[in-house]
């Protein structure tokens, strides 16, 4: 369980024009829950993800995972960035093994697990290839395998499909849910895409900017397994509409035609 209590983050000195990125964030994420963070640029959603990962520590409040205060990166979290950030000199398999190697646990069990993950992700045939020989979508699959190789209970994803084309993006979203169904984990997922946020989430956390605050938390009551065919479902549309109105205001986006 991830407990974020009264967390705030100020970059730079508070009294001398520091930038307040997050303010008074309270959020509890249950085990094996998928929570998506959505909001306009500058609402601090990536900052919140980095707080949970332990890459940065909050200037106010605290993050706890299973009761322990997060002060540094932990072994039970895996992280996926917007860019695949694969090591260009290493093969796909070596890249997937990277966390295990760093943690000094690159044993046969880890190697078997890496192979299994590559198989699940459908890129087992490319285990010996270098990243530049792979398409963007395949590179990001490898990055997801890498985040999962040390079998973390929490997966943190920072706009992982943001750099992919729209079609690959939908495929990857469905793939992620398939992987999650096979081995459920707690997932915190940052995205700009409203449909992506709704289709993935048990709950969507909508954030508002300057300073980053939680505007509303929306429960998504859609059955699993899900596909994008659900986009026509009234529940999907209710959630998407609600997010849209929270982000753009009740009237939605409109062009000012008074002049």
């Amino acid at each position: 369980m991830i407990e974020i209590s009264n967390a705030g983050q100020v970059f730079g000195p508070v009294h001398a024009g520091g930038v307040r990125a997050l303010d008074g964030i309270n959020l509890t994420i249950r085990d094996r829950e998928i929570v998506t963070l959505v909001g306009p640029s500058g609402c601090g959603k990536s900052t919140l993800l980095r707080l949970v990962s332990g890459l940065i520590t909050p200037t106010e409040g605290a993050i706890r995972i299973d009761g322990d205060k997060v002060t540094a990166p932990r072994q039970d979290t895996g992280i996926v960035f917007q860019a695949p950030t694969l090591l260009p000199w290493a093969t796909v398999l070596e890249n997937v093994m990277f966390p295990s190697t760093i943690m000094g646990r690159a044993d046969d069990a880890a190697r078997r697990r890496a192979h299994d993950l590559l198989k699940v992700a459908g890129i087992a045939d490319f285990a010996g290839h270098r990243p530049r020989q792979l398409s963007g979508g395949m590179q990001q699959r490898a990055a997801i395998c890498r985040a999962l190789v040390h079998n973390p209970s929490i997966l943190l994803m920072d706009e992982p499909f943001g750099a992919l084309d729209a079609l690959t993006r939908e495929v990857m979203t469905i793939e992620l849910m398939r992987i999650w169904t096979a081995a459920p984990k707690t997932i915190l997922f940052v995205t700009h895409s409203i449909p992506e946020a709704v289709i993935l989430a048990d709950r969507v956390v909508v954030m508002s900017p300057r300073p980053g605050r939680i505007a509303e938390i929306i429960d998504v009551n859609l059955p699993r397994p899900r596909t994008f065919a659900l986009a026509g479902d009234p529940e999907f549309q209710r959630c998407a509409e609600r997010i849209r109105s929270l982000i753009f205001g009740e009237q939605g986006v409109r062009f000012d035609v008074q002049h």
Binding site: G54, L55, P73, I79, F81, T85, W89
Partner: protein, 263 residues
Amino acid sequence: MSSTDLRRWFNASREFTVPLLALVLLIAVWEAAVRLFAIPEYLLPAPSRIFEDTIAMGGVVGNHTLATLRTILFGFLLSIIVSLPLAVLISSSRIFADAIYPLLVLTQSVPKVAIAPILVVVLGPNELPRTIVTFLVAFFPLVISMTAGLMAVPPELIELSRSCRATKLQELTRVRLPYSIPFVFSGLKAAIALSVVGAVVGEFVAAEKGLGYLITSATAFFKVPVAFGAMLILAILGIVLFQLIVVVERIFFPWAAAEEPRS
């Protein structure tokens, strides 16, 4: 071989044959011009004359070449040995970078030809001052490109290694150093070419052997064809050493050859 086959063969090997033909043409024009206008040998010797005189000195020229090669390699190795730790320090400490950068620029703004005689007085007329002059000429681009490589690691890659709880040393050996390899090789290529220059500068000032010494002594006795021969050997030496680095990179770091920053 039919004419289409011939054309296809020519197209396939064009990047190789065109420069070769240009070179042969240049030598032919040079030879013809020297003979036609009866240019005196001490002004511009004909290629055939350069070749004859250099070959006639065979073993002697060979020894001079080996001496120069030694200086080049010592200076080049010293550049690598000094540059790598320097680049690591510069890239990992802001204070060290601020302290060392002005000094580095200073060593580059002092003309090396001016340092060489001073070094000979201080260190004596032996291999050491030549090696140091070679090093001084060659190491700067190496430090700069190694540092650039260590600094060019995308912040996300650093975040990734930190999220895996990598130590600072692991971050250096598993991410920063391998990431800088393409940059290191572009620095090595610049450094080897400059090492040839540095070695010759060192030999001009104080040496009793080496191609630089051969050029000064040959011109002193108006043996211009031999001086030309030494110059051409230096050029060939530079090209061969440069290509050797290209080959090492292709064999041991094929991924780096593809990633290398274009300069």
